[in-house]
């Protein structure tokens, strides 16, 4: 890195590395001469970013919620067994209000609502995250290609994106999941298909903005091919906005997952927050006035969604040069 290879190589490598702080990096590098003091700023910038992030109460709270939820979901198999979730093997009172033995009450089959809610986090978080990964991959690919190549291909891709934006997402997701069949896989696909378009628009706009910057022109002048410019120069600069939108996408994906399982599109044997609420409605917990059966899964959804939203908003705030001073 410090040893200057060919001149073109050195500048190009620096161009990509400077992405943490592109504007200053460029100016510092534009002048001829070695730039040996370039490595540390990245780690320092990361540390500065973490500090600025944790200093914002909303961001810290959001991250705290998410870490807690992830820990609970991951460790659930250690303390929850089949015996506590199987309708035929539990022996608790039916629809009992919260008590010492059942801190959040029991459901219509005598299972502990607390344990069900913790178990439900596994499926909700997993579907939410996998759907988001699919959404972001699809959306970023379309947005990047449409923004970078433009022309007829770009316009065609954006037309497709606009159609998907205009389609009502819930009816489309319901129809997709109903046609593919019940289960988490079809829900994941349905969520990804209905939500990639927003990411694509965002990424395309950012790709065009980055593509107009001088360092891209320089890379081209030095002989970089289109694909190389796209992956090594533009993509790293678009990544922060992709990450922010991914965090916000998880929030809506989890809401969609809950909605779709509530409507009965999930695997009927799975315990998820949406299916718990669906059972509460269909098994008469609502007419019985069993508020505890509703409170736990609903609050869990609310908290996790809020956690992702707060995290995403805070990162967005810090990355925006107009509002945040971190990067």
């Amino acid at each position: 890195m410090t040893a200057p290879g060919t001149r073109a190589d050195g500048t190009r490598a620096d161009g990509t590395r400077a992405d943490g702080a592109p504007a200053d990096g460029l100016r510092a590098d534009g002048a001829p001469g070695p730039a040996p003091a370039y490595r540390p700023p990245r780690a320092a910038a990361l540390r500065r970013f973490a500090r600025a992030y944790l200093a914002r109460r909303a961001g810290a709270a959001g991250l705290g919620i998410l870490v807690l939820a992830a820990l609970l979901a991951l460790t659930a198999p250690l303390y929850i067994g089949d015996g506590q979730l199987d309708v035929t093997r539990v022996d608790g009172p039916l629809l009992a209000p919260p008590s010492g033995a059942y801190p959040l009450g029991t459901d219509h089959a005598g299972r502990s609502v607390l344990l069900l809610t913790v178990w439900g986090a596994r499926s909700s978080l997993a579907v939410g995250c996998v759907a988001t990964v699919l959404t972001v991959l699809l959306g970023s690919a379309v947005g990047l290609v449409a923004g970078h190549y433009g022309g007829r291909l770009g316009r065609a891709l954006m037309h497709v994106t606009d159609w998907f934006i205009a389609l009502p997402s819930l009816p489309l997701a319901i129809s997709l999941a109903a046609v593919i069949g019940q289960g988490p896989v079809s829900i994941t696909i349905a969520i990804a298909v209905t939500s990639w378009s927003a990411t694509a628009r965002l990424v395309r706009a950012q790709t065009i903005a980055v593509g107009a910057r001088p360092f891209v022109e320089r890379a081209r002048a030095l002989g970089a091919g289109e694909a190389q410019v796209m992956f090594r120069h533009i993509l790293p600069n678009v990544t922060p906005i992709i990450l922010v939108s991914a965090t916000l996408t998880v929030a809506s994906a989890i809401l969609s997952e809950a909605t779709l399982t509530f409507l009965g599109l999930g695997d009927p044997t799975d315990v998820t927050w949406g299916s718990m609420l669906s059972a509460a409605l269909s098994q008469g917990a609502v007419t019985y006035g069993a508020w505890w059966y509703l409170m736990a899964p609903g609050t869990a959804i609310l908290l996790v969604v809020l956690g992702f939203t707060l995290t995403g908003r805070t990162v967005e705030h810090l990355l925006n040069p107009r509002t945040g001073g971190a990067s």
């Binding site: 997402s169 009816p171 319901i174 997709l176 046609v179 409507l263 007419t287 006035g289 609903g298 959804i301």
Partner: protein, 352 residues
């Protein structure tokens, strides 16, 4: 959409464009309208393609799912396949599907054994009543809160409003509906049962004005749920566009004239900030109809959303296809309206 927002970002050009208003001829507007209508028609065509792919090509074996649980001979299966037109080539099926849809023939529901179109027609009005009332109320509430919290952004009122709307926005609609149902319909602790649990009217509903009151009584909870979930969107948009207006010189002029703070806000800032909100309201209208699915399910409100839920339980593919097309068409229609209304409201767009 983005060019609309760009136009909004230049509020300083208000006066010169406004002065060109008397000289406008209808021709550019008609051309504009024609291009928007054409775009909407293309969108609808795409919806039909997606609907066809989803409901006619993707289901692996509709005959099998249709006859599920009943012993059927191979000859009967073949007869059904022929009856459903499944033995014809794909393009032929697509063309007859498009022809049928445009003539309002959406097939027969498997579950209700009657035409999908008549089912939808019967359930359309309850949904329009519910979403219309809810939208009206949430627009009024959202815009009022948005103007006030944006005008004093950072104040305690603003933080409270933003916090509440962010929280309500994160709440799953159906959960909120169920909470309201438990608290206000079943009754919890000291709270008596105030509202009916579901449906649109009582079985022995009185006629005339009594019926209207009965329906209104049933409407309260579903409508309240939708308002609580939807208004946050309007608060956010209105708040941020009021904040965008804050630094503008025309507000300084208005203040320099000696207007009171509330007059500056209501007569100068709010009308200008309203423009982007109008677009969002119309775009939202289309999705609200789809959002009615969960609310109607919880309250068994006999609208399109509840119909979709009932179709899902089977799953009744022709019925699902019908509601999908209706929901998509409503979104496309609202987008078209948003474009047209925007053109009327904003002289800067009109002058182009």
């Amino acid at each position: 959409m983005s060019d609309l927002l760009d136009a909004v970002a230049l509020p300083g050009r208000e006066e010169p464009a406004g002065s060109s208003r008397p000289g406008r001829s209808p021709a550019p507007f008609l051309r504009y309208l024609a291009s928007k209508v054409a775009a909407a028609l293309v969108s609808f065509a795409v919806t039909l393609v997606i609907g066809f792919v989803l409901f006619s090509l993707m289901p692996a074996n509709p005959v099998q799912s249709l006859t599920r649980g009943r012993p059927t001979s191979a000859a009967q299966m073949e007869h059904l396949r022929h009856q459903l037109g499944l033995d014809q080539p794909v393009w032929h099926r697509f063309l007859s599907f498009v022809g049928d849809t445009l003539q309002g023939r959406l097939g027969d529901s498997w579950q209700f054994q009657q035409p999908v179109a008549s089912l939808i027609g019967e359930r359309l009005w309850p949904t329009l009543l519910l979403t219309g009332t809810a939208t009206l109320l949430s627009v009024v509430l959202g815009l009022w809160l948005g103007v006030h919290s944006g005008w004093r952004h950072g104040s305690r009122f603003d933080r409270l409003t933003s916090g509440i709307s962010l929280t309500l926005w994160s709440v799953p609609t159906f959960w909120l509906a169920m909470i309201l149902l438990v608290v206000l319909s079943t009754g919890l602790g000291p709270i008596p049962s105030l509202f009916p649990a579901g449906g649109m009217s009582d079985a022995y509903s009185p006629s005339g004005f009594g019926h209207v009151l009965d329906v209104a009584h049933h409407l309260v909870l579903p409508c309240l749920t939708m308002v609580l979930v939807v208004f946050a969107q309007y608060v956010t948009v209105m708040r941020s566009s009021v904040i965008d207006e804050l630094g503008n010189p025309y507000l300084l002029t208005a203040r320099a004239k000696g207007l009171m703070d509330s007059q500056v806000r209501n007569r100068h800032a709010a009308p200008n900030a309203l423009l982007p909100s109008v677009t969002v309201i119309f775009l939202q209208l289309g999705t609200v109809v789809g959002g009615a699915i969960t609310v109607e399910t919880v309250y068994s409100w006999p609208g399109l959303g509840f119909l979709t839920y009932q179709a899902l339980q089977v799953p009744d593919l022709p019925l699902l296809q019908g509601t999908f097309i209706v929901f998509s068409a409503s979104v496309i229609l609202m987008n078209l309206l948003a474009d047209v209304v925007y053109r009327f409201l904003d002289p800067r767009v009109r002058a182009q």
